[in-house]
């Protein structure tokens, strides 16, 4: 009973947070409601006896990824970017519907029709969740696990290549980054430097 009430609380707040994240006009509020949603998803994992995943959910999504988002959003002018953001709405809705159907299909295939695997909630509780997940990842699912990390590595290389484009390292005593490439960039028309606008 208590578990069900908690499930409805966590699930409800997750959905509410996700809706606010998409609809809010202020992007910092969006990021914060996404944070609320992430933390409540961790709550659902705890209800499923998956403490390890719950902690990693907070550590990775809330503690690392969303903080980096917030970094960018804080230096971002929403009024300038609004048009661009709203152009993506149709694509977003289409992708959302596709992902929703995929999730429903996956749930239909495994949980409702199919049989449960050897790792039931009871078995997991007896062995210890962290041990079970470690065993599964490094034996049966080793190949998918390695492929996933390889994909992340590729993404990281891509980010480094994109960010480092045009920055050359000079062989100097201090090893500082040579920023002289900036002089070669096309000059802005106005002479006064643009004021940095902080999104609010």
């Amino acid at each position: 009973m208590a578990a069900q009430l908690l499930f409805f609380y966590f699930g409800g707040v997750t959905i509410a947070g996700a809706i606010v994240a998409v609809t809010s006009r202020n992007i910092v509020y969006s990021a914060l409601s996404l944070l609320v949603a992430f933390i409540h998803i961790a709550g659902i994992y705890v209800l499923l006896n998956a403490e390890f995943i719950a902690a990693v959910q907070i550590l990775v999504y809330a503690g690392a990824i969303l903080v980096l988002y917030l970094f960018v959003l804080m230096l971002f002018n929403p009024s300038e970017e609004k048009l661009y953001l709203h152009k993506q709405a149709k694509v977003g809705i289409f992708l959302g519907v596709v992902v929703l159907f995929m999730m429903l299909f996956a749930g239909y295939k495994t949980e409702i029709i199919g049989k449960g695997g050897p790792l039931t909630a009871q078995a997991v509780k007896e062995m210890g969740h962290t041990r079970v997940i470690g065993n599964a990842l490094f034996t049966d699912y080793l190949f998918p696990f390695e492929v996933a990390s390889l994909i992340l590595l590729v993404a990281m290389f891509g980010a480094i290549v994109l960010a480092g484009r045009g920055v050359h390292r000079k062989k100097g005593p201090a090893g500082r980054i040579d920023l002289s490439y900036r002089d070669k960039l096309p000059k802005k028309s106005s002479e006064t430097p643009e004021e940095v606008i902080v999104g609010r």
Binding site: V28, L35, E51, A55, G63, A64, V67, G128, V198, R200
Partner: protein
């Protein structure tokens, strides 16, 4: 009825731990001022009470009665929420720290020396401490001030960068004790000082201590609040109670990282020699925590501040690779030790 008593006992435990931690926070500020002044050959606070012992109380009252100012143009909701977002992650970690060995039995009620012993204790602390960056970042952003914003960005960058080697340094003790629970980790180090993980994991201990100082934004890594560059960093615009929340969080974090260091590397409440076990475990625990806190203050009095690019380069190019190599070596040794033990 049973459930009611359990809930009551838990609430009382939480209240007791919070009370003890906050008292320690208050007197840590006093200890810091006294130790610093002693090292600089001056007296420090002397006016309020004997040897200034009531100074933390006076400071608290002063902050409490100060006018609460919210700067014009600040985002009021986030400005008010940020101090709480910093303080809560700092305090919530104490829920899993085992302060002693023996549970107290009163009738049918068992009072444990920890609030809860979840089997992912260490990950739980890391997860919540990683949320502390939000308060810093949002406090800086909501203040509508350039100094605050830059301070917030710097601080968040630093906290995120040093979280990685910090977590990796703790992997060593986790591998050796085969558990994420802080109680199991302490038990695994029983039997004398040579069984403590600081002996088998000295590199991880050094990395942990350096990263812990950076995590808590203390000297020599206190760039987010470098007075000469950024006024007071992300809390430039804060005053009164809201400011004191940031202050409390910093000192509570110091105590928390010291507690984790004691549990993961210094044997928790274990006595250093089997012959010394007649001294209660909680005394050993507190003595070790106090020593680490003294070490922090000592460092503050000794070391100059780093430059920001040095700080980031040090985190990513020195600490992270060493921590990764340490994890790799420890796992290899542990694997062969297990093989050997099976034979």
């Amino acid at each position: 009825m049973e459930l009611g008593i359990t809930i009551l006992v838990t609430v009382l435990q939480i209240a007791a731990v919070l009370g003890v931690v906050l008292t320690h926070v208050a007197y840590l500020t006093y200890a810091e001022r006294k130790i610093l002044s002693d090292m600089q050959d001056r007296l420090g606070p002397m006016e309020v009470g004997p040897h200034g012992l009531l100074q933390p109380l006076a400071d608290g009252l002063k902050l409490f009665f100060k006018e609460d100012i919210i700067p014009a143009g600040a985002n009021k909701i986030i400005f008010s929420a940020a101090p709480i977002l910093v303080l809560v992650p700092a305090l919530i970690g104490f829920a899993v720290v085992p302060f002693g060995r023996d549970s107290l039995q009163i009738g049918a009620i068992e009072i444990t020396p920890y609030i809860t012993d979840i089997n992912i204790g260490l990950l739980y602390i890391l997860a919540f401490s990683s949320l502390g960056a939000y308060g810093i970042l949002l406090g800086g952003w909501a203040s509508n001030s350039k100094y605050s914003l830059l301070g917030g960005l710097r601080s968040a960058a630093q906290v995120i960068s040093y979280e990685l080697p910090l977590g990796l340094a703790l992997v060593g003790p986790i591998l050796l004790s085969e558990s994420l629970s802080l109680t199991d980790m302490t038990v695994a180090q029983g039997g004398g000082i040579w069984r403590w993980f600081i002996v088998s994991q000295p590199v991880a201990f050094v990395i942990y201590m350096i990263c812990a100082i950076a995590e808590t934004n203390r000297l020599p890594f206190d760039l987010p609040e470098a007075e000469s560059e950024l006024v007071a960093g992300f809390f430039t615009e804060y005053s009164g109670m809201r400011f004191s929340f940031f202050f409390l969080a910093e000192y509570a974090n110091m105590i928390l990282v010291s507690c984790i260091a004691v549990v993961a590397f210094l044997g928790g409440w274990q006595a250093p020699l089997p012959a010394l076990e007649f001294i209660p475990p909680i005394v050993w625990f507190l003595a070790k925590v106090y020593f680490l806190l003294f070490f922090y203050i000592w460092l503050r009095a000794t070391v100059p501040r780093l430059r920001f690019d040095q700080l980031m380069a040090f985190g990513w190019k020195v600490m992270l690779p060493i921590a990764l190599v340490n994890v790799l070596l420890t796992s290899i040794v542990k694997y062969f030790l297990n093989q050997w033990a099976e034979k």
